[in-house]
Amino acid sequence: MAVCIAVIAKENYPLYIRSTPTENELKFHYMVHTSLDVVDEKISAMGKALVDQRELYLGLLYPTEDYKVYDYVTNSKVKFVMVVDSSNTALRDNEIRSMFRKLHNSYTDVMCNPFYNPGDRIQSRAFDNMVTSMMIQVC
């Protein structure tokens, strides 16, 4: 179950964060934040080889909590971070990838809106709906 989904801008500030169990929201924010360091590390390691469908699998960040953090970086250095509950082992790699693809598509739709200024928080209802469906469906 995707418990948290976040969209981070190039400058590493969040454009959109949403988590399902709202009582642990701060914890998720912190997890996302720490994952950014790992992401940056990976990006710099990649060097010139630009991969558009990159994926970062962090494994178990908190062994007790059993969360997995996935990451997906676009060409414009916008990062999609997804935290999933490891108890749901049915989640395969491909599913994660497809979820990220959907996220990416919704994000481009939001970008297409001329009233959206890049760098603003994402307030699109369509995007919200899509994220909600993902968070519920995966669980």
Binding site: T108, D109, C112, N113, P114, F115, Q123, S124, R125
Partner: protein
């Protein structure tokens, strides 16, 4: 066989009802009573039980029924009094029958008196109803009345709530029904039963189609049915023939009838306005408006950015960052609705979907096709011929190309514009013939209206018609502004929005030129009727324009302030970095 109905109830004169009337009335009574509680009033002996809804027809459905008879409220009050319901406090069968008879009398033009019900009368007619008998006697002729001229917006908004209630009470007609709102090739008919008008009209129109199927199934009271249907049958037949020839629209209208979302339906007049605005932004109706252009345009509506963003999200169905004509119309309509206080829908209403819009208004495409043909071959000679081929009301405009061919100066254009404004308001108040004729003259020509005014000389040599047409386009908007002025002041908000839009658009290219344009509008022309009112309108226009300019400048100011802040922050960040670096280098 005549039946004396409820003579012993002690209220109202003895009723003599024919068989069909008896059946009709009892059906109606059953409906009204059944709608409330499920058991129709058994009759006079139970009159002692005054519990509403058990032995009587409930007031709600009865009131709806009476309203559906399209009689003025005073008449309805009179009828209610006369039939005795007021006296006894409820609508028993007697009262109900008497009331129905009185309604029939009133609809036939007889005075509402107890004497009138003694004579033979046609059955009362009701606009909205699903009972067969009423449908049979549904009156198509009255529907196509002068109500069309009433601003559709009032009909929409004011009757919206009521219609919604009525809608909920009724089912949508069977698939065999066909739409009445037929398309361009029968303009008068369309105008009379246009989509804009109304849900009740549409539904009643469609319900009239039901008799065709119902008659086969339920041959009740045929003799009266035929007699009263006499007047109704001819329109029915005509409609049937029209309907058969437009199968495409039929399917569409089938869908449309199922959508009780009155505010989200784009009327013909609105549609024209949107198309004109689209054309002012983008001359080719088949192409897109880019996101930035649309953003600037919609920002003028002064809605908040999140709302505009949401509206865009709703209307840009393919999410390509550009608006096609139907998308643009949907977005515009949503903005207008929002400005008028309607909450934004969760999803795009079906009547605003691009496919629906494109198919529902093929007329505009037809005109667009004509415009494309205009833009393709632009020789000055052709245009008068094409224009002349248009509807008769455009004759005035068609005459323009000839005399004003040499007109290149602003004065002539002003004369042209003022004469254009004259037929235009009249056009809008006439039938569709004029509506369709209204659109062609402002064709899809590239030069912006105000631009042509600022460059009369350069363009004049090449395309005098080009100058004329965009100025007509500019005038179609103020003319539209005038037209709503001419109509009862029931849609001030929309008019204001239009005016603001139009005035701000004229401001955009060049303030001076915009001033010239509005000044031209302002200039009173002797041949235009209502001269003083036009002056007033002009002053109001100027006021609005100034207010709009203020708003735009204020917004600009805030945006610039924001940018300034950001730049400040950047500067601070850079200075900090510099500070941090400096000791390092020094050491």
């Amino acid at each position: 066989m005549e039946v004396a109905a409820g003579g012993g109830c002690g209220a109202g004169p003895p009723l003599l009802l024919s068989e069909s009337e008896q059946q009709c009335y009892s059906e109606l009574f059953a409906r009204c009573a059944g709608a409330a509680s499920g058991s129709p009033g058994p009759g006079p002996p139970e009159a002692t039980r005054v519990a509403p809804g058990t032995a009587t027809a409930a007031a709600g459905p009865v009131a709806d029924l009476f309203r559906a008879s399209q009689l003025p409220p005073e008449t309805l009050h009179q009828i209610t009094e006369l039939c005795g319901a007021k006296r006894v406090g409820y609508f028993g069968p007697t009262q109900f029958y008497v009331a129905l008879k009185l309604i029939a009398a009133a609809q036939s033009g007889l005075p509402v008196r107890t004497e009138s019900i003694k004579c033979e009368l046609p059955l009362p007619r009701f606009v909205m109803s699903k009972s067969d008998a009423e449908i049979r006697f549904g009156n198509p002729a009255e529907l196509h009345g002068k109500k069309v001229q009433i601003p559709y917006l009032t009909t929409e908004k004011n009757s919206l709530k009521r219609m919604d209630d009525e809608d909920k009470q009724q089912e949508t007609p069977s698939p065999t029904m066909s739409p009445l709102a037929s398309p361009p090739s029968s303009p008068p008919h369309y105008q009379r039963v246009s989509l804009s008008h109304g849900y009740s009209k549409l539904r009643s129109g469609t319900e009239q189609m039901q008799p065709a199927s119902y008659e086969t199934r339920q041959p009740i009271g045929q003799p009266e049915g035929s007699s009263s249907e006499g007047p109704g049958s001819k329109p029915l037949r005509r409609q049937a023939s029209l309907i058969r020839s437009f199968s495409v629209e039929r399917e569409l209208q089938d869908n449309s009838i199922n959508y009780p979302d009155e505010p989200w339906r784009i009327t013909e007049e609105q549609r024209e306005y949107y198309v004109n605005q689209f054309r002012s932004l983008q001359p080719d109706p088949n192409s897109f408006i880019s996101g930035s252009v649309a953003k600037n345009f919609f920002t003028k509506s002064k809605l908040s950015i999140p709302e505009l963003s949401y509206i865009w999200e709703l209307s840009d169905a393919d999410c390509d960052g550009a608006l096609t004509l139907p998308e643009f119309c949907a977005a515009f309509h949503l903005i207008v609705a929002r400005k008028n206080g309607y909450p934004l829908p969760e999803g795009l209403p079906p009547t605003l979907q691009p496919e629906y819009l494109q198919a529902a208004f093929p007329k505009s495409k037809w005109e667009c096709a004509i415009f494309d043909s205009y833009s393709e071959s632009m020789p000055a000679n052709q245009q008068p011929c094409d224009l002349n081929r248009m509807e008769t009301s455009v004759k005035d405009m068609a005459d323009f190309p000839v005399p004003t061919q040499d007109a290149t100066t602003g004065d002539d254009k002003q004369a042209l514009k003022s004469t254009v404004t004259e037929p235009l308001p009249k056009d809008l108040s006439e039938d569709t013939a004029t509506n369709s004729g209204l659109l062609p003259p402002p064709p899809a020509l590239p030069p912006r209206p105000c631009q042509t005014q600022s460059e009369p000389v350069t363009e004049a040599d090449l395309h005098p018609q080009l100058n004329r047409a965009p100025s007509q386009a500019a005038e179609s908007s103020p003319a539209k502004k005038d037209a709503p002025h001419a109509q009862p002041p029931s849609k001030p908000i929309r008019r204001k929005f239009r005016t603001e839009n139009q005035t701000t658009e004229s401001q955009e290219p060049a303030a001076a030129v915009g001033g010239a344009a509005s000044a031209a509008v302002v200039k009173p022309h002797p041949t235009v009727q209502k001269q003083s009112s036009k002056q007033k309108k002009a002053i109001q226009t100027a006021i609005r324009k100034n207010k709009e300019a203020n708003a735009v400048l204020a917004r600009l100011n805030s945006e610039l302030q924001q940018q300034l802040k950001e730049v400040h922050q950047e500067r601070i960040a850079l200075e900090n970095q510099l500070e941090q670096l400096r000791p390092v280098t020094v050491l």
